[in-house]
Point group: C2
Chain length 301, copies 2
């Protein structure tokens, strides 16, 4: 795959000696290079008030909320977390190349809400004017007139309708709902684990992004029921707690930084992904798709 792939696995390397016919691309900075050369101002710490910790048996999943795009849903999820709504509930669905979902599986006697609202306005899009941090990605998009990034989240826009919305890229978190547009309340959440299901855009309130712990969700056994729901309660993956980071003692918080998406370092990250250098790469793509654009996250120095 990548040149470094073979540093520990030199079998093929020993078999091929200078017979490549393609012209070599010059080396170029990689994303790792850009991260290494970045400055402190290229990063921002996660805001504890907008960060969730979901504790699973295998470890912690860290979710950054996007209150600018779904303020009512973000607020309701904070209330659910503060009411300990999710504690003892579980991951109940794992569908191949689609989503992993968590919440309450008990339809006969569902866990009651306390301070959280049971129904919310849709929040599927926001006015363009409410997204001042948007930086456009000029590479194009199949689904939307414009795409780009805002405060570390992938965004699409339609200047004709004046709307902006978060897109269903890998790792994005959305609010499950029933057929009614206002039937989601944040008590059922899912994360994208496959090729971006962009057809869900503008159909659901997208509320954030998993910034750490994705593999704890993506490697869960797939559910064998319809839509990847687990068929037996014994298959549920229990959530011990789901908390707002601000409610967790400082010493127990995950100290993470996200690269700012409105600065030069992120533009360099995009450039590194758009045009990779040699010697491994023989053909530079020249473009980067919205959902292929990595948004770097690192432990706070």
């Amino acid at each position: 795959m990548h040149r470094v792939t073979w540093t520990g696995i030199a079998l093929v390397a020993t078999l091929a000696v200078g017979t490549a016919t393609a012209a070599e691309l010059p080396p170029r900075p990689t994303v790792a290079d850009v991260v290494k050369e970045s400055k402190p101002a290229d990063w921002r710490a996660l805001d504890p008030a907008n960060t969730l910790y979901m504790e699973l048996p295998a470890g912690r999943v860290v979710i950054e909320l996007a209150p600018r795009f779904a303020p009512l849903h973000a607020a309701n999820i904070r209330l659910l977390a503060r009411d300990h709504y999710f504690d003892g509930l579980a991951v109940i669905r794992s569908q191949e190349n689609y989503v992993v979902q968590w919440g309450d599986a008990d339809e006969k006697s569902p866990r009651p809400l306390k301070s959280a609202k049971s129904s919310l306005p849709p929040e599927f899009t926001i006015p363009l004017a409410s997204d001042p941090a948007f930086v456009r990605l000029p590479d194009g998009d199949v689904y939307a007139a414009e795409v780009g990034h805002a405060n570390g989240f992938p965004v699409a826009r339609d200047p004709k309708t004046g709307e902006a919305w978060l897109t269903h890229c890998y790792g994005m978190v959305g609010v499950g709902r029933d057929a009614a547009a206002d039937s989601g309340n944040g008590s059922s959440l899912y994360v994208v684990i496959g090729q971006a299901p962009r057809h869900l855009d503008r159909n659901i309130a997208v509320v954030g992004r998993v910034v750490s712990g994705m593999s704890l969700l993506t490697t869960l056994p797939r559910g064998t029921g319809p839509l990847g729901f687990y068929e037996q309660p014994s298959q549920y993956v229990p959530i011990s707690t789901l908390r707002v980071a601000a409610d967790v003692p400082v010493a127990q918080r995950s100290k993470l930084e996200v690269m700012r998406t409105d600065g030069p370092a992120f533009q360099a990250v995009l450039a590194a992904q758009r045009n990779r250098g040699g010697p491994w790469t023989k053909f530079a793509a020249g473009k980067v798709d919205l959902c292929n654009a990595q948004i770097p996250v690192r432990p706070a120095p």
Copy 2:
């Protein structure tokens, strides 16, 4: 997520009664509807000569080879399989949102090749004329001038250079290589398990697609070494055998059919994904991305 999501989980349904404000979309056929209404001529059986079975502890992975796009690589992989090259080797890499890879981890005393070639011409692209089955997808693409499908595989094309190539969509299988373009031989293979890494297109020989058993690969624990390689041999996932289906007794073969991508049923599948109907869907995307376009596979009737 999807309307059916909640059939077994009616919590939210009980809370929302007729308060949706968006206009309802009319119901439209789903992919499942199209499959249900399809005719035998809409499908083709897998060719046993171009089908691989990789047997893992958890079950069988079925790979359809694409000899039209990488004839020398497909032939070499058949030779490797017939020499039982992969038997006792293992899955050695699982990298989040990228690839799972298998082959020989032993760089000090690598398993020798028998009848298979150690080096092959790149086969990263083929001439347009060699891809007569191509059916264009009119929805556009970020990376290529044209995209579409050929014989059940996602394809991109550049009329200016006269080239066609298989794209790195979810489930596509490629040939690992070192820095030299001709250093791959099929003894190291990988499958895409995340957002399509289209920057790999035209850099690697793509040889086929996993048509069954993807979840056996995608749910493997992620490797903790660089690039997701497993750090301990105890983590390797052993391959008991990897065989060409034609070499397996008929009774032990997986009887699968793939929907033809040059017929009306597949166009109906694309339409179903492009514009989903109500009542769950509130906004129809109007487009389908190449790597979001499902290519249906079913057990042979």
